[in-house]
């Protein structure tokens, strides 16, 4: 019994001065507490502890007293928001999610909108004036409850309405979805506990030697709605521009909108400035919160928020997705702001992002008069010129070839590794050819249509895989160089200071003995990097500019890698040295 709160199985993470134990409440709930302790408003929540989980497995059911404490926890949320769980007026809905001290795959997903039934749906329809929204909440809840709590394996997310979902669950012999919100809550908590011993969770722990009795906590959090009245809305905010990395808030706001509406793009949102004009106080509060989260996170944040009856709630803050250009700009800016060290910055940018920035593009106007031989879907960006060949064997024996196939099978993988670009007649952006090409960072255009193989074979062609086009002959390209860009130059200098490896420009002096991968006869090439002779001090050749090649060189104790672009090699080397040390 926790004497301070009187709860045996619950923690209410709302006291900034009382940091809860991660072991007891899990990482998710700890983050909620962290946000609250920064003075930020998050929807109220309580946590069922990992001790309750252990007790659940000890007795094979929810432990004594937990049902009563769940009710007490819900009463707290009701009081804070002035809503009623299962109520016919101003109903309270909650989310239920798992959370262990360390992340563990195979555990149950979040269930949203728990507490919904026919009465609640009607109440929500009346309150929001939007029966379609209320029906959608009910449908989504029933689907996720059917799948996660009842273990229904049918696809439920795409069914049109609640009745169809219920019928599918019944047809799968999974049982019935209870209409009593309290029964829903108890079953959901038990399902989260049980999921910590799912087959996948057990397999994962076994593989990594994590104790089997490490259970999970359950976070129960109030749902807030952005579509209840004209004083409500929802949106997303990036603390820095995700396209170019500029340090200015960037985001969208949807008056009278609810979560999924923004993400799904179903409704066109307004720029964030709309919020400033409509409710300046909320706007100012949001910007202050964003600043705080950016500083605390020491990184650009992507923040989801909802305004309910004029009150701002922060739902989530996480590292923002960003373009390669923005990743570089943000990392360098954070160093200038004193938020991170140059060594951190080097670890914030991936080699792949830098390769994307340095990728050549068709020079402006250069393709205007070129003959377009084929066009399709751009599956993996980049530009390459070479001889079009039709078999993986030919690709392996023709340096810099363009491999053109109807579609690709595992048989083609060796040819795709050797080829400068890949073109296919069939398939879309999610075909095997596309997935393999992206993994190899090889330019790839897919779905060019029947007859493409015949049209291209034996010709020298230029593949513009950024635009999804294939032209006759060689076309001029332009490329950014690391030395021409301030941010890249600084990042490069910082990466060199890490001392993972030395990168020499082609033609520069390098210590002997030198091993040149480009001089290996094609018949001796095989899967994976070649054996580097013992004692080699320098390696050169296209292979050693790829991530696998860099890693192999480091593992072989090589001191110098010869490459035209230093930064991708350096970043791969730093990451690899970290991963193996």
């Amino acid at each position: 019994m926790n004497t301070a709160t009187g709860y045996r199985w619950l923690v209410v993470p709302d006291d900034p001065a009382a940091e809860p134990s991660r072991e007891l409440v899990g990482g998710k709930a700890w983050s909620l507490w962290r946000m609250r302790s920064l003075g930020l408003r998050v929807p109220p929540a309580f946590v069922v502890t990992t001790e309750a989980c252990a007790a659940y497995f000890a007795v094979g059911a929810l432990p004594d007293g937990l049902a009563a404490e769940l009710e007490a926890g819900i009463r707290l949320l009701e009081a804070e928001l002035g809503r009623t769980f299962g109520g016919a007026e101003r109903p309270l809905l909650v989310s239920v999610r798992s959370g262990a001290a360390i992340s563990m795959p195979g555990m149950m997903d979040t269930i949203l909108n728990l507490g919904c039934n026919d009465i609640v749906e009607a109440a929500l329809a009346a309150e929001s004036g939007d029966p379609a929204f209320a029906a959608e909440v009910h449908r989504r809840f029933t689907g996720s409850y059917g799948r996660l709590v009842m273990g229904c394996t049918e696809e439920l997310d795409d069914l049109p309405d609640t009745a169809a979902v219920l019928a599918a669950v019944a047809a799968d012999d999974a049982g019935t979805v209870p209409s009593d919100p309290w029964a829903q809550l108890r079953a959901a908590v038990a399902a989260v506990f049980a999921s910590s011993r799912s087959r996948r969770a057990i397999a994962y722990r076994k593989h990594y030697g994590i104790p089997d009795d490490l259970g999970t906590a359950v976070t129960v959090q109030a749902m807030v709605f952005g579509n209840l009245d004209d004083d409500s809305g929802t949106g997303v905010l990036f603390t820095r521009n995700p396209v170019d990395g500029t340090r200015e808030p960037y985001g969208e706001y949807l008056p009278r909108g609810q979560g999924e509406d923004v993400v799904s793009g179903r409704v066109t949102p307004q720029p964030l400035t709309h919020l400033a004009g409509w409710n300046a106080a909320v706007h100012a509060e949001l910007l202050a919160a964003a600043e705080r989260l950016d500083t605390e996170g020491r990184d650009a944040q992507d923040i989801e928020f909802t305004v309910q009856h004029g009150e701002l709630f922060l739902l989530q803050s996480r590292p923002a997705k960003r373009t390669a250009r923005a990743a570089v700009r943000i990392a360098v800016a954070l160093v200038d702001e004193g938020a991170i060290t140059p060594a951190d910055a080097v670890r914030r940018v991936t080699a792949e992002q830098v390769r994307a920035l340095l990728r050549p593009e068709i020079a402006p106007g250069a393709a205007d008069r070129a003959e377009l031989l084929a066009h399709g879907v751009a599956a993996s960006p980049g530009v390459a010129t070479g001889l079009a060949v039709g078999t993986p064997e030919d690709a392996q024996h023709t340096p810099g070839a363009i491999l053109v196939r109807r579609s690709t099978s595992p048989d083609d993988v060796q040819g795709m590794i050797a080829a400068a670009a890949v073109v296919t007649e069939q398939g879309g952006a999610t075909s095997h050819a596309a997935v393999v090409s992206r993994a190899l960072d090889t330019p790839c255009v897919v779905g060019c249509g029947a007859g493409t193989v015949d049209a291209l074979l034996g010709r020298t062609v230029t593949v513009d895989a950024t635009a999804g086009r294939v032209y006759t002959g060689e076309i001029a390209t332009t490329a950014v160089d690391e030395s021409e860009d301030d941010d890249l130059r600084r990042l490069c200098a910082w990466a060199e200071q890490q001392g993972a490896v030395t990168v020499a420009e082609p033609g520069a002096a390098a210590p002997e003995p030198v091993f040149d991968a480009d001089k290996i006869p094609p018949e001796e090439l095989r899967e994976g990097p070649p054996d580097i002779p013992a004692g080699t001090r320098t390696v050169r050749g296209a292979l050693f500019t790829t991530p696998d090649g860099v890693r192999a060189a480091l593992d072989a104790g090589v001191e110098v890698i010869v490459a035209a672009h230093r930064l991708p090699v350096l970043l791969t080397a730093v990451a690899h040295r970290e991963g193996t040390s």
Binding site: P105, P242, V243, R322, Q353, V413, Q426, A434, R438
Partner: protein, 202 residues
Amino acid sequence: MLDPYQLTLHTLTLRQLASAEQLAEITGQPVADVKAGLEKAVADGAVVAARGSYMIGPAGRELLDAAYPDAFAGLRATPAVAEAIEAFETGVNKRVLSLTTDWQTVEVDGARVPNDHADADYDAGILDRLGRTHEKTQKVLRPIADADPLVDRFLDRLGTALIRAEGGETDYVSGVRVDSFHTVWFQMHEHLLRVTGRERPE
């Protein structure tokens, strides 16, 4: 079913330029048996050897094309198998390819850019969906796996790749040079097409 010699040749269509050990990993056959089969195949002119790696030649492919209809006659005549492969193609296969794409690239302002794996929740969400799809696949392919033990072996290897990815080895989702989830899936897909005699749909 294929005899052990045919099975060794067949495995070379799932993984080109492979060593005997790598082929044995796919089928679970003893390495010595695979080696013996490969030596016979080289002598027969069905397979080409190069420094410990093997490639199937045209004669080997002809041998397989002639063997498949008899070897898989029972499977191909079973309606439940036809339904299973159809469900595989239209359901879980599309889902796996779309999830691996989401793993490799994320959308920023309408454009796909490389995933820098900075958002652990995003990655965990994809691995979770991949895990569920793996479980669903075990159900979908049950009619084929009941008659062809190699399918269960593929499903086990997919599980192994998933666990490594979940442990932070990001290469094990779609990496080409390791037995990643996609590498094994691609092999299994090709195997299923050959077993059922279907054309690659993409």
